[in-house]
Symmetry: C2
């Protein structure tokens, strides 16, 4: 099956936004073994869109459209395709209900234009929009499969992976329910994770198990279909259990939760505060933690100790420690973590010291990182990590390892 | 003139990278008044590329290609176009020389494949590659103009704006020299800047003056053509002088220099060190300053004082100040800046306190920011800024204003 992705929207042609949708869809189609041979971008113009469709039909089996499903006059993807393939537009009751519910919830007046968004191509399998109003759809006509998706990535991405991809791979029928769950892992590579569960991946067809790697994390998407929604969820639970039994120690969260969000949640739930001493990360850990609103209840604050002087004078790292072991050392990391927690009056102290690059330091190679952790009531620990990226990549990765180890040790301290 | 952008590269169709080139080129073409009606992405396959070219010729006058100019067998953009429009590939002496010089400089062995990169379409205007090996080119054939650009954005972007766009707008001849210079402004909006110099923009045709806004900054690109390189530079100097006379106080740097790089440069040149107290920015200022290698010679370190407790206990902000004015205040900003510089032993202290949002604080609205500056030997100053973005946008913008005011006051302290 050869695919083509057509993005509809003049804002793309004006360079106001970049076509991340084509990249996202291509990446997932490649993972599903479907070839993508062309991407096209066309403006909000029915004649040019029609001509793009005709060109695509000549060279592709599956044509995926993004954009042009909104309520305004500019939005004409559905209408143009309907006319072109000779199908009617009909109201989808579920979509209409959820649009009405949305307006009721937000206390806004619903207009006729919004009703228009619930129109779908007759005979299509409707893809629910869990993050917006316009439903997506998949429809077959003659030799082609047409999939229509909304333009905003925050609506399109979950719709495509939770429903769209499954509609293609599981050959869903119109009364099937599809449910999907993402397991998020850190501290294990994609290849290692796959090796651990390759027999599960290979033997499963419903639910499907799809790995994806990026930004030092690996995720597994589990997708099940069943006519009964609860049964589909139970199917996911069972597969998750099997996976957890093997690689559960690397599983840190679900769906869109990032490591920093997960950490914020855990710290809030435990009602504990944190302070940070950052050398190589230069403030990055605290900057990210404070990007979540309400961070002041968990982060007391901390020190960016970029120079040895500040490590010694502000954070009271002993001069002997620096002289004997250097600042890129287990000993220094531990003192930094312990001392910053008392300095700012936090329950937990974390520290980052290491060699970001480009040059080595104290005879220690670029990528050497020590993360110190001081958790009240427990002996301090230091985790050593060796990273192999660029300067910025090493800093970013070090911060992620900080979140990960913190979560891990908090869990252990709870179990102890 | 209607344009189409064809990106060549299987890595795009696999979703490994996103087509930022099409966005970049579209944005600049829109600024130059050229309509872009289609973007196409096609893989490294001569038949599919040829068919994409034929489709483009049917509907567009100007066809811009990105990618496929590398030294490997996969790279076939030039060869496919040459065959299609019936032109020979010939060696460009300048391109060959610069490729040879590159290998000599990096002490690497040059292969026959690398020589291939110096081949250009006969009769084309060659676009120099200042950041890589593959030259670009512009060539006319029958009713069409074809422009070929390299794929890597760090090569493509400067080539397109410095030479490509000018080749389109100034109708260059093959012995013309094009020189280009970007002036970078902060603290003035695009509309305000344009208003100040609109008569210059309107009356200039060589050099051209092109404004562009983004990330709170505004840039002006000046481009001149002349057969004599030095004369072209002199033409730029003259226009720059006229612009500086009107809006020079907002001009902070040239070409690709960011505010943080400019600040690092100035601090290094003056041999002064800095310490930071960050409340609303949560470490972002220091994180960015330490992303530049060698930051330890300018940043001593600092404190992330996210809670009032840390402001008072670690940074010694007087309790009366907090009680009387609040922490989002001129008085608090000043004490933070002064005290952090003495705490870490730096020549300069800077502080950020404000309301990032989503909620107001101390009765002060979201977006209120105070930036305190304590420069050794001068009375402390506080700059107040009112921002109107999201939480993250306000934090990012506040940090930029910090760089800007620091640069401004350092300049003044020099002149004083």
């Amino acid at each position: 099956m050869n695919a083509e992705i057509i993005a509809v929207g003049s804002e793309l042609l004006l360079g106001q936004i970049v076509n991340t949708n084509a990249r996202f869809i291509s990446q997932h189609l490649a993972g599903a073994g479907i070839n993508v041979y062309y991407h096209t971008v066309v403006g909000d113009n029915p004649d040019r869109l029609k001509s793009a469709i005709e060109i695509a039909e000549d060279r592709s089996d599956l044509i995926i459209f993004t954009g042009g499903l909104g309520p305004t006059k500019d939005d004409l993807t559905k209408e143009t395709i309907a006319k072109h393939i000779g199908k009617e537009l009909v109201f989808d009751e579920n979509a209409l209900e959820s649009i009405e519910a949305y307006f009721k919830k937000t206390n806004r007046q619903m207009t006729e234009n919004n009703r228009k968004q619930a129109l779908v191509l007759e005979g299509s399998y409707v893809l629910a929009n869990d993050h917006g109003m316009a439903p997506g759809m998949v429809v077959e006509s003659k030799r082609h499969v047409y999939m229509l998706l909304p333009g905003p990535p925050k609506e399109m991405e979950p719709m495509f992976i939770e429903y769209g991809l499954t509609a293609l791979s599981l050959q869903v029928k119109s009364n099937d329910k599809i449910v999907s769950r993402v397991l998020r892992f850190f501290g294990i590579g994609e290849a290692a994770l796959e090796t651990e569960i390759i027999d599960l991946i290979d033997s499963q067809s419903n639910p499907t198990i799809a790995p994806l790697a990026g930004d030092g994390e690996v995720t597994l998407r589990l997708t099940a279909k069943h006519q009964d929604h609860d049964t589909a969820i139970k199917m996911l639970d069972e597969v998750e259990q099997k996976i957890s039994a093997r690689v559960g120690q690397f599983l840190y969260g679900y769906n869109n939760t990032s490591l920093v969000e997960e950490l914020s949640k855990v710290l809030k739930a435990k009602n504990v505060t944190i302070g940070a001493a950052e050398s190589l990360t230069g403030g990055m850990f605290q900057k990210e933690l404070t990007s979540v609103p309400g961070a002041s209840s968990i982060l007391k604050g901390g020190v960016v100790c970029y120079t040895n002087e500040v490590k010694h004078q502000v954070l009271k790292v002993k001069q002997e420690t620096i002289d004997m072991y250097g600042v890129v050392s287990e000993q220094c990391a531990l003192e930094l973590a312990e001392n910053v927690s008392s300095l700012v009056g936090a329950d937990i102290g974390i520290s980052f010291t290491g060699v970001a690059g480009p040059d080595e330091q104290e005879g220690k190679p670029v990528g050497t990182v020590y993360i110190g952790l001081s958790i009240q009531g427990r002996p301090g620990v230091v985790e050593k990590v060796i990273l192999a990226g660029s300067r910025e990549a090493n800093r970013t990765r070090a911060v992620k390892f900080g979140y990960y180890y913190l979560l891990k040790h908090l869990k252990e301290s709870q179990n102890a």
